[in-house]
């Protein structure tokens, strides 16, 4: 297992090489793709990227939690969480 981590800079570089725009514009476009996805999710919309996976917004009910260290009860408010479901294509690529 490699310790390398891919970041925005790597995505920018890949876009720069694949599309042939300036590095600056490539970087802005990477940001705009991530930002557009985030905005839709915040609006409560699911985002499905074929052959990659789906980002789904789930609603969690409030419940009474407990601080495991002190045993103290703490209320947990209802909230929205994001789950990512990888596509079969991605699962296959990761296992081969």
């Amino acid at each position: 297992m490699s310790n390398k981590t891919l970041t925005r800079a790597d995505l920018t570089e890949a876009v720069y090489e694949a599309v042939g725009l300036s590095r600056n514009e490539s970087s802005e476009l990477v940001e705009s793709v991530l930002g557009t996805i985030a905005d839709r999710l915040v609006d409560g919309e699911n985002v499905k990227i074929s052959s990659f996976g789906s980002f789904l917004v789930r609603h969690k009910n409030g419940r009474t939690g407990r601080n495991p260290k002190t045993g103290e009860e703490v209320p947990i408010d209802p909230r929205r969480v994001l789950v990512f479901r990888p596509s079969q294509v991605m699962k296959d690529r990761i296992n081969n």
Binding site: A14, A18, L34, I37, F55, R80
Partner: protein
């Protein structure tokens, strides 16, 4: 929203780009992420989230219909953890 709608939105916001370049741009981003995960690497996109690969050990599963035991090979599964900014935006 699906991928083609995402491409259209980015294309509309950038009328100076060819549609096919926007398609290539969006595909490149997702291909790079998948490629990194396939090499066992992490992908960290601050504010958005982080993708990593988790190892699931081999186990003995059961066919739920017949109850028969089946060996399940070890496998790797992609995992996504929502970034702090996005998690907060989802709940504000």
């Amino acid at each position: 929203m699906i991928k083609s709608e995402l491409i259209t939105l980015i294309a509309e916001a950038n009328p100076h780009l060819f549609y096919r370049d926007v398609e290539r741009l969006v595909s490149t981003i997702f291909d790079e992420i998948t490629g990194a995960l396939a090499r066992g690497e992490r992908v960290e996109l601050r504010g958005f989230g982080a993708f990593s690969v988790k190892e699931r050990p081999a186990r003995t599963g059961r066919n739920p219909r017949t109850g028969e035991k089946v060996h399940v090979e070890e496998k790797r599964v992609p995992y996504f953890k929502t970034g702090k900014d996005l998690r907060e935006r989802l709940n504000s």
